[in-house]
Amino acid sequence: MASVPSDKVRMPTPVKLLIAGGFGVGKTTMVGAVSEIRPLRTEEVLTDRSVGVDDLSGVERKTTTTVAMDFGRISVGDDYVLYLFGTPGQERFWFVWDELARGALGAVVLADTRRLSDCFPSVDYFERRGTPFVVAVNCFEGAPVYDLAEVKMALSLPPDIPVLLCDARRRASGKEVLITLVQHAYSKRPVAKV
């Protein structure tokens, strides 16, 4: 691989945060509210090989699937650039989540109190993977308002996981959620090896 001397070009280091949750919970809305660019969509074309089917019987059954991911960007100083990815809603695309979660600083799990169980798979995934996460309850109009402690209990979350209310349409609200997440991730980071 042709590597370039680092003094030749100075580039920021990319960092990513994920926004997960069930279908229609407001992931792309939140990405759009805080992004400095209009949310973009990128696609991964997957063959059944990437779905983990270990089948060598030939290519005649080969199928392809396209998974779309919405994302936005926030410039943070000269040295880093932050990308926000909405995870694809279909939970069967775990391997796409694996790619997204690799190296991610943390994740926001968006929840809707009318369909709280929709966010269970996301919570389970990040718990299992050890990715720091916070749960943000998107306050939809007309949705029952619960006490945050109740939501926490319903999700059987460990006590140290931050749970907060948000309005995914508002930049100030999304900003607060992301700051809470990064602070949480910072507090959870493994102690550096000596």
Partner: protein, 119 residues
């Protein structure tokens, strides 16, 4: 492009034709790996397709694999293959994200928090 248009926009040239059948990028690029052009093509190079040239033009400033893919309306995998070519031929430089084990850097957390607070 709005999502509805994308739904119906049948791609005339299949992605694997653009990448000449290759699906494995030599460079293991992340969706957020940044690419920037470090040399401009003269137009006389052999083996550079229009998509290669489009990437070099786009990358006058650092752009992520995901952004390049969105701008050119190509799957991210195809962009990885093309970027691998451009990396090999010295037209772009790439900045990968920090490896997971290094996501401990206090400076990074501070920069990200400051950037978010300034939103």
């Amino acid at each position: 492009m709005n999502p509805d248009e994308q739904l119906y926009d049948e791609q005339v040239v299949r992605p694997y034709v653009i990448s000449r059948g290759r699906t494995e990028a030599r460079a293991n690029l992340d969706l957020i790996s940044l690419a920037v052009a470090i040399r401009q093509p003269t137009g006389l190079e052999v083996g550079l397709d229009p998509e290669h040239l489009a990437i070099v033009r786009l990358c006058r400033r650092p752009l992520s694999v995901a952004e390049i893919a969105a701008a050119l309306d190509l799957p991210a995998g195809t962009v990885r293959v093309l970027l691998g070519d451009l990396l090999d031929s010295g037209f772009v430089a790439v900045q990968d994200p920090q490896p997971e084990v290094d996501v401990l850097d206090e400076r990074m957390y501070r920069a990200v928090l400051d950037g978010l607070r300034a939103l």
